[in-house]
């Protein structure tokens, strides 16, 4: 067993138990784990985004690897690249970025929009960031319209082509699905008051919705239990002698410190009283 693996196991156990200690109450162990988790993940995501998106997909398309010596405007374009490379050769390696892309100057648009976002730091030019946001929101709205119409409307209508003549079971199932769908849709009518017959139908819709929520809840809880089993599996594994009983030692340490803290707090509150 390598030392690094053992240290890693101790860290994993400590952080798992520190997060679990939240079940008792907010405490220094939870705070430490939370801040470490938030800080490390923020840094990790920033780095991951840069090296998996910006560098290969944006810079890699603006300055792909050269196959021959550039001339004219292209040479000037790669002159800018060489200037960037002077700052950081890891991001801008000599001769272009080899990620299998062709030169595509359309990518100057996202490049510019990205720079606009950064201009938020400037008081005078901060308003340019709104262009980038407007682009993202507008583009998403247009793209989603197609997707939602296809999956939420057409697929739903298509799915209602259910069979009624494949036996009693199928017929009853089909009728339940159709009644559930229609009454559920009744509930989501907002421009009509839910009273009288309309109100009664929409109430049936709520029952259908609640039954489906209950089923979804049970399903998700089962998934969470399997995640919990995964954590316990690790804790049990790390309690073995090859990890120097990490789980037992750290559990004892956390319980003793939290117990001591609770004892002190109790004493202090008694004194104040």
């Amino acid at each position: 067993m390598y030392t690094t693996e053992i240290i890693g196991a101790w860290f994993a156990v400590f952080l798992t138990l520190a997060i679990f200690s939240f079940l008792y109450k907010d405490n220094p162990f939870y705070k430490a784990a939370e801040h470490l988790f938030v800080g490390v993940s923020a840094g990790y995501w920033a780095s991951t985004f840069f090296w998996t998106q910006i560098q290969p997909n944006l810079f890699g398309r603006l300055w792909p690897k050269l196959t021959e010596e550039p001339s004219g405007i292209k040479a000037a374009w790669y002159g800018i690249y060489d200037f960037f490379g002077w700052f950081h050769e890891g991001i801008f390696p000599g001769g272009g970025i080899d990620k299998g892309h062709e030169l595509n100057l359309f990518y100057l648009i996202p490049f510019l929009l990205g720079i606009f976002m950064l201009l938020r730091l400037s008081r005078k030019l901060g308003w340019l960031a709104r262009w980038s946001m407007a682009y993202v929101v507008g583009l998403a709205a247009g793209l989603r319209l197609y997707g939602f119409l296809n999956s939420n409307i057409l697929a739903q209508v298509r799915g209602s082509a259910l069979s009624l003549f494949d036996g009693w079971g199928t017929a009853i199932n089909s009728i339940i699905i159709i009644v559930g769908t229609l009454t559920g849709l009744f509930y989501f009518f907002f421009s009509k008051e839910h009273t009288g017959v309309f109100g009664k139908i929409s109430r049936v819709g709520i029952w259908f919705l609640m039954v489906s929520f209950g089923a979804a809840f049970g399903f998700a809880v089962m998934g969470r239990i399997s995640l919990l089993i995964g954590r316990f599996y690790d804790l049990i594994q790390f309690s073995g002698s090859q990890y120097y009983h990490a789980t037992y030692w750290l559990l004892a340490l956390i319980v003793i410190i939290l117990g001591f803290q609770a004892f002190r707090e109790r004493g202090r509150s008694t004194e104040e009283a």
Binding site: F22, M117, M133, Y146, N150, V157, L185, F190, S191, S212
Partner: protein
């Protein structure tokens, strides 16, 4: 001519021109997507018609949604208790409809907190959402004449990582003990973690999401939950702007058309099964 009728007239002219264009071989038009094109146009015209009518002064009724009525109550409670309001706009980026809706609702909540001089705390998990939220909160504070109460730190970034974000928000809840928690946006597995912690500190909680798998958790742990479209109509309800109310009415009409289509397809498919008609509806509605 009334603006609603104008929309119908233009739509009619467009339909006639399109039919002529289609009859003459429709170059540059992907015939496989005709069903989708008709659906997009029909829905758009319906919504535009009702928006035009609402803008023209027609009264549009919007039924009461208890969760939305509770917004004012929640912020008022926080004010009375001298505590802050926590607003979580989901964990996804601005390319999600729910996040956009969540940020718009944030604007309304910010107006309330500005009017009541209550602290507002908005932790976010995406940089673009942070920028959009800051803009909208700032605008809300300015619109009610309290720019002095606004500061950039009201909207702050935590992390992009889902569970790290949940841990961070939980920490904020336990230390600041906000009196009202709003969860409005796109959520995944962190929904129950957030709502349970909010419940444990005794905050009044109002959730809103269109993520079907997360609604049960919010229903279980929150005081009020805006489910699905209730959440998406919230901005119309809170602002009472004619254009938004008109679009809600238009969407209702869209739903009504879909319901008729569902019943028709169900019956006609039965006829198809019996061999009375020879149309395959599964194929007819399939979009490539």
């Amino acid at each position: 001519m009334k603006s609603g009728k104008k929309v119908l007239m233009y739509a009619g002219i467009f339909a006639v021109l399109f039919i002529i264009y289609y009859a003459f071989g429709h170059p540059f038009f992907n015939g496989n997507r005709l069903t989708m094109f008709v659906c997009v146009m029909a829905l758009s015209v319906t919504i535009l018609y009702y928006i035009a009518r609402a803008n023209g002064g027609a009264k549009i009724y919007l039924r009461t949604i208890p969760g939305l009525k509770a917004f004012d109550e929640a912020v008022g409670r926080a004010t009375e208790m001298g505590k802050s309001v926590l607003y979580v706009p989901g964990i996804m980026d601005m390319d999600q409809v729910e996040t956009v809706a969540g940020v718009i609702i944030l604007g309304h909540v910010a107006k309330m907190t500005a009017s009541y001089e209550t602290n507002l705390n908005v932790p976010v998990s995406r940089s673009i959402v942070m920028e959009a939220s800051r803009e909208i909160v700032k605008e809300s504070y300015m619109s009610v004449g309290r720019p002095d109460l606004f500061n950039d730190d009201m909207v702050h970034y935590l992390t992009d990582e889902q569970f790290a974000y949940a841990a961070g928000v939980d920490g904020i809840m336990l230390r600041e003990k906000p009196a009202a928690c709003f969860y409005q946006g796109k959520f995944y597995a962190e929904s129950l973690i957030l709502a349970e912690t909010g419940n444990s500190i005794g905050a009044i909680q109002i959730a809103g999401t269109a993520s079907p798998s997360q609604i049960p958790f919010f229903v279980t742990a929150c005081d009020y939950t805006l489910i699905g479209e209730e959440f998406l109509t919230a901005s119309a309800y809170l602002s009472q702007k004619p254009a938004l109310l008109g679009s809600v009415k238009g969407q209702d009409m869209g739903k009504f058309i879909v319901m008729i289509a569902i019943v028709l397809i169900f019956i006609l498919n039965g006829f198809h099964d019996l061999g009375w008609i020879d149309i395959d509806f599964q194929e007819l509605l399939r979009v490539q």
